[in-house]
Amino acid sequence: MKSKKLKLKRKVIIAAMIAIILIVVALLAEVIAPNDPYATNATMIRKAPSAEYLFGTDNLGRCVFSRVLYGARTTISSTVFLVAISFFIGTLIGMICGYYGGIVDEVLMRVADLTLAFPQMVVAIAVAGLLDGGLGGAMIALGITMWTSFARLARSHTLTVKQMPFITASRLAGKSGAYIIIRHILPNILEPVLISALTQIGTTMIGISGLSFLGLGVVAPKAEWGSMISEARAYIQIAPWAVLYPAAATIITIVVFNYLGDAVLEYRDNA
């Protein structure tokens, strides 16, 4: 039994290390990238991978390797930002609903049910398509439905924590609702909601790059994997590397974050 836990812990650590490496690479894109990701070069159009251009060049002679690195930053940071915002708003609403109950709870939870009643990607495509606002629009479109899962989770945990004697004690001591929520409820519900946030990174990344691929997210020429693949798809016969490298980067990143989420879940369930 002990060795199984140790094994699971090792799994979490390895996955977390790879994820951190990816994040660091994304953050250091400027330092690592050998070329300017936006510099076009008419003499170097669609060149195969070489020492100078590790992943080759695209239709405009831009360095695919540098663009993949910069794309990592766009994809990872927008995903993490979106998950963080949804996490923050959802948890806050969930705690307020769970703690105060009553009409506020009733209304907000019905709204949450409503977003669950419709297919997320259909809503996202329609909203992103209408907002016409690039990456921000895509994030809003996905965020509309994302916060609700955090709200539901935070609310149900808040309902449990609320029953504990120390909450009653704190209330008798005259502490305000806001104080109790921040100081006593939040620390006690944080773990499950944070883990849920972690497991959502992979799917969120799929959503953002999918919308960008459709042209509803990142606006060209900004480097982002989904839109790079979408652009280079037209000349995949001549320059497959311009599609395959960003595709590999997308798959690896999503796999790593999904694996991390699974590993953490498994570790917790066996704790």
């Binding site: 409503l114 009643a117 419709f118 297919p119 997320q120 990607m121 259909v122 809503v123 996202a124 495509i125 329609a126 909203v127 398509g129 209408l130 907002l131 016409d132 606002g133 992979g202 799929i206 790059s209 999918g210 691929f213 459709l214 042209g215 509803l216 989904g226 693949i229 979408s230 798809r233 995949i236 016969q237 497959p240 599609v243 395959l244 595709a247 997308t250 798959i251 999503i254 796999v255 999904n258 694996y259 699974d262």
Partner: protein
């Protein structure tokens, strides 16, 4: 019992009314003026008078609730309005697209089930054996693949490297193949994982031990009892995947130029053709909510203990 079903149907109608209101409000608030877009796409010089006349002609100047009421009334009668792009009625376009999408979606669903039911069963029965690990690994990877990537990669290997299929899918059987595979791969991953879990739960039930003790053959238990008891759950899994399938079909249809409702909506988004987008959301929402209700009712038919 029947009261509960009626209650669910009333809830469903309310839900759809709210959906229609939200959709309409969204279009109302959306940036970009369809009248202006329309005029400039026709090459008309946009002056204030022309713009206002066009807005009035398109019915954009009347109050929100009047427009909403008219629109909703029309939809109830099967009239989804007139396309901003070409002045043609929207409903026939949506229906034509929907037909193609249903063909694509049903084929993918069938294909996924045919592959994933045996995979899930085998993985559960041979728990922790090599085959189980392989199925789990594949389903993990499949679950991490965005479907636009799957289709681009499939296109690269099958159409360009192997030259087996035409790049642009025409509405025939050969054209159906790659879109179906692209939609199915992530679905197979999810289905086989969920079916495995469900079968494992069933296998640990007392009735399985009882049957085994009575000397009933393992194969018989598995196919007759365990599988039958899992069917209700499989319906639920399918119903949950319909939403993902709908989003996925927009992507896949756009990539393979499959003439479905998803491609129609992407074209309409680019042209700011609001009535088509609104119709798309309403139709997809109705189908989704309807299928979810249907799967709950089916569950009830299969297993009368289930509460609707």
């Amino acid at each position: 019992m029947n009261n509960k079903v009626i209650k669910r149907i009333i809830e469903l109608i309310l839900l759809l009314v709210v959906l229609s209101l939200l959709t309409f409000a969204l279009m109302y608030l959306a940036p970009g003026d369809p009248a202006e877009k329309r005029l400039s796409s026709q090459g008309v010089a946009v002056t204030k008078e022309v713009l206002n006349a066009e807005r009035a002609r398109m019915g954009l100047l009347r109050p929100f609730f009047v427009r909403y009421g008219e629109w909703l009334w029309g939809i109830i009668h099967g009239d989804f309005g007139i396309s901003f792009k070409d002045d043609m009625p929207v409903a026939p376009k949506l229906i034509k697209g929907l037909k193609n999408t249903v063909v694509l979606a049903l084929s993918s669903l069938m294909f996924s089930l045919i592959i994933s039911i045996p995979l899930g069963l085998v993985a559960a029965v041979k728990k922790n054996a090599l085959i189980d690990h392989v199925v789990r690994l594949l389903s993990f990877i499949g679950n991490s693949l965005p479907n636009f990537l799957v289709s681009v990669l499939l296109m690269y290997f099958f159409c360009i490297k192997l030259n087996m299929f035409p790049i642009i899918a025409e509405g025939n059987l050969q054209g159906l193949f790659l879109p179906v595979i692209s939609l199915s791969i992530p679905m197979i991953a999810r289905f086989s994982r969920m079916i495995r879990t469900e079968v494992l739960t069933q296998l640990s039930e007392d009735y399985v031990t009882g049957l085994r003790l009575r000397g009933v053959k393992e194969k018989y238990i598995l196919l007759k009892n365990v599988f039958y008891n899992s069917i209700g759950h499989i319906f639920t899994i399918i119903a949950l995947q319909i939403g993902v399938l709908m989003g996925g079909s927009v992507v896949i249809e756009t990539i393979f130029r499959w003439p479905g409702i998803g491609k129609l909506v992407m074209d309409s988004i680019n042209a700011r053709d609001y009535p088509v987008i609104m119709g798309f959301v309403i139709i997809m929402g109705t189908i989704y909510v309807g299928i979810n209700l249907l799967s709950d009712l089916l569950n009830k038919v299969i297993d009368p203990r289930v509460e609707v």
